[in-house]
């Protein structure tokens, strides 16, 4: 592993999270079934264009998830995987947990979008455990093993200035060779046999800079 550690004050500013979310939204095709991970990935649903309809799956037994309810519409029996109140859209349905995970594990979810701590050049993902504290995995391992396409939405570097895109993950894996594409604040990259292939580069940075903050081969 290359020992990259950038002084975070020196970092070039990349896309903000809303811009990243809109890029992902543009890449989700019409009529796809999508599971958005808790946190930053939830932003994606706000940027879906009117030329397409996307159906959201929440692993706690909800297909056809809608936006957050108004204060007076909150039903604590209608929540998402992050345990926050949500709504259900016309054409939605409820199911039990085994059926809900059949959708995931059986390969019926077209895209899942997840956060990451580390992603390796081989597409290994670590996003469930820092190795410290109480271990808690939730549905992350099922999602990466089952979804047809696993997208990662992440900052390119950790808060401490270390690359998240690495030659080899050091943290406990969520899944091996599961990620298909990474959307960071610096670039959109595919996982390929030859390394991280740049699909789109942030307008403020060069490919050389991207390589300097990535621990793993970058190419265009």
């Amino acid at each position: 592993m290359t020992n990259i550690n950038i002084n975070t004050n020196d970092l070039i500013k990349g896309w903000d999270r809303n811009t990243i979310a809109s890029k992902i939204a543009n890449d989700l095709p019409h009529s796809s079934y999508v599971n958005l991970g808790i946190g930053m990935p939830e932003l994606v649903s706000q940027y879906i264009k009117e030329d397409r309809e996307i159906i959201y799956h929440s692993e706690n037994g909800l297909l056809g998830m809608g936006p957050s309810p108004n204060e007076n519409e909150i039903d604590l029996d209608l929540i998402n995987a992050g345990k926050k109140p949500v709504t259900i859209l016309p054409g939605g349905s409820f199911c039990h947990h085994a059926d809900s995970f059949s959708m995931i594990r059986g390969g019926h979810i077209d895209y899942c979008v997840l956060g990451a701590m580390e992603i390796s050049v081989k597409g290994d993902l670590a996003n469930w455990s820092t190795g410290k504290g109480i271990p808690a995995v939730g549905g992350a391992m099922d999602l990466v093993a089952g979804a047809k396409n696993v997208f990662v939405m992440t900052q390119h570097l950790t808060k401490e200035g270390r690359p998240k895109l690495v030659q080899k993950c050091t943290l406990p894996l969520t899944g091996a060779a599961v990620v298909s594409r990474i959307y960071s604040d610096y670039a959109v990259l595919n996982i390929t046999d030859d390394g991280f292939k740049v699909i789109e580069l942030n307008e403020n940075i060069t490919i050389e800079y991207l390589q300097s903050v990535t621990d793993g081969n970058i190419y265009q």
């Binding site: 159906i55 297909l63 349905s93 059986g106 089952g146």
Partner: protein, 237 residues
């Protein structure tokens, strides 16, 4: 743009079905059997099919007719000896169609497994019988089980009672049977449905097959009733 899985006619809904395909056919006896879709396949002339179903067809209608047209090379089912079966016994006794017998519950579970990402599971069903021959054995808590593998298909042909444009389905009584799990286990599920409703008209608590498992729908308002058709001596085509 709105999702709309409803196709305009039989030609459109069957357009991707190919020679040599593996097709799951819903229904238990005549209840829930997608007769019009099967007749569509006779019109299309698709051949060398492997059919996964509970039975092997009655009379010369629906699955019985498809088999009679020699479009099926193999049937995987639990019970190929139906009282009103005609075409399958004819071909089977001449050695002109293959049969794989699977216990009914194992058949259902293998289908569900395929839809649920489970490549194999262990079961007590069939242990010590001829149907366990050649199957891997494993002991759990001192009891013997055999390994059964997932059973998938290229297409599922399914009959439902109501649907919306998303492909959410409900069924009528025991016509539910294999239909929901076959929708899960096929790459492409084709559904003939009596009534098409607006999405808001199906209560999300009452959906039996969520639309994620359905690719295409066709509205068949007055499907053939097999018992009556056979009594009337109907044959297809």
């Amino acid at each position: 743009m709105q999702i709309n899985k409803i196709k305009k006619d039989m030609t459109e809904i069957l357009s991707d079905v190919f020679d040599g395909a593996t097709i799951m056919v819903g229904g238990f006896g005549e209840a829930g059997s997608p007769i019009e879709l099967l007749h569509g396949l006779i019109d299309k002339g698709t051949r060398d099919l492997t059919i996964i179903a509970n039975n092997s067809g009655n009379g010369r209608v629906g699955l019985g007719a498809l088999i009679g047209q020699r479009q099926v090379k193999k049937v995987i089912c639990s019970f190929a000896r139906s009282a009103k079966g005609v075409t399958f016994p004819e071909l089977y006794n001449k050695g002109e169609i293959e049969l794989e017998v699977v216990p009914q519950g194992t058949l259902a579970e293998r289908i569900r497994a395929a839809g649920s990402g489970i490549p194999g599971f262990y079961t007590a069903t069939g242990v010590g019988t001829p149907l366990a021959e050649g199957k891997e054995e494993k002991f759990f808590n001192g009891k013997k089980y055999i390994l059964e593998e997932a059973l998938r298909a290229d297409f599922a042909f399914v009959k439902a009672e109501t649907a919306d444009r998303y492909g959410n389905l409900t069924y009528n009584k025991t016509a539910r049977n294999f239909n929901p799990i076959m929708c899960m286990a096929a790459d492409t599920s084709l559904v003939q449905v009596k009534n098409i409703l607006e999405p808001s008209e199906i209560n999300p608590e009452h959906v039996i097959t969520p639309g994620i498992f359905v690719q295409s729908l066709i509205n068949i308002k007055n499907p053939i009733i097999e018992t009556n058709a056979i009594e009337e001596g109907m044959t297809y085509p």
